[in-house]
């Protein structure tokens, strides 16, 4: 049987699904809703405090995982969504563009966090 890359993409999809399920809702709520509407006490996104937080290697690694893995989750789902919507004849190009975007996002995250 020919060797396939599918197990790698599926593992990244699955890991990204777990990260997205457990971590993303609270982040959207905190930065996108609670802070701009002032629902929680204090200016908790304040500049010097966030710089302090991001200076911690563990926090950087956390942000990297939080950003990168769900991008691969998106890539896998979006690839098959496009195929389900009828882009069957371009399936190789679709796969390259989707996973390529996730890889580009991962590199961008690494450069921004540690560059």
């Amino acid at each position: 049987m020919a060797k396939s890359n599918e197990p790698i993409w599926w593992s990244l999809f699955s890991a990204g699904g777990v990260v997205a399920a457990f971590l993303v809702p609270v982040h959207i709520f905190l930065t996108g809703i609670a802070w701009p509407l002032g629902l929680l006490p204090g200016d908790f996104l304040e500049y010097s405090k966030m710089r302090m937080l991001l200076s911690h290697p563990a926090v950087r690694l956390y942000c990297f995982i939080l950003i990168s893995l769900p991008l691969f989750h998106w890539a896998h789902r979006f690839r098959f969504t496009l195929i389900d919507l009828g882009v069957k004849h371009l399936h190789t190009l679709v796969a390259v563009l989707c996973y390529g975007a996730a890889i580009a996002g991962t590199i961008a995250a690494a450069v921004i966090l540690w560059g």
């Binding site: 699904g17 777990v18 997205a20 399920a21 457990f22 971590l23 993303v24 809702p25 609270v26 982040h27 959207i28 709520f29 905190l30 930065t31 996108g32 809703i33 802070w35 701009p36 509407l37 929680l40 006490p41 204090g42 908790f44 996104l45 500049y47 405090k49 966030m50 710089r51 302090m52 937080l53 991001l54 942000c63 939080l66 950003i67 769900p70 991008l71 989750h73 998106w74 789902r77 979006f78 098959f80 969504t81 389900d84 919507l85 009828g86 996002g105 961008a108 995250a109 921004i112 966090l113």
Partner: protein, 127 residues
């Protein structure tokens, strides 16, 4: 000879409730990814300096940004719920001959999710 492929319109998923819910579940990942790109931009602005970061924070207060985050949160929660509810399909545990009921596999996920979310909230607020 070419096999016959029944033509399928691109709007097939609008025809039935379960198809529509399937497509919405697939689309949750688009909103999650879009939010994370914004989150990365926020970190980028933070490293650029106080003025860049604060103008980014100011843009979070626009009605359009808040609308985006409310919609993104709804999709993200839909992902969380559908993901947790699928876990008994991926994992089965047996105690002797008995299979552990699905709710015993799903419930700990929700419990862990609440605890983790509270910890992140506490960390960001106090950190």
């Amino acid at each position: 000879m070419k096999p016959y492929v029944r033509p399928m319109p691109a709007t097939w998923w609008l025809r039935r409730g379960p198809y529509f819910r399937f497509m919405m579940r697939e689309f949750t990942s688009v909103f999650v990814a879009a939010y994370l790109v914004l989150f990365l931009v926020m970190i980028h602005r933070l490293y650029q300096g106080q003025a860049a970061y604060e103008s980014f924070l100011e843009s979070l207060k626009s009605p359009l940004a808040i609308l985006f985050h409310v919609v993104a949160l709804a999709f993200a929660l839909f992902h969380t719920i559908t993901w947790f509810n699928l876990t008994p399909k991926a994992l089965t545990f047996r105690i002797g001959e008995e299979r552990l009921p699905p709710v015993a596999i799903i419930a700990p996920n929700y419990l862990a999710w609440i605890v983790i979310s509270a910890m992140i909230g506490w960390f960001v607020l106090k950190g």
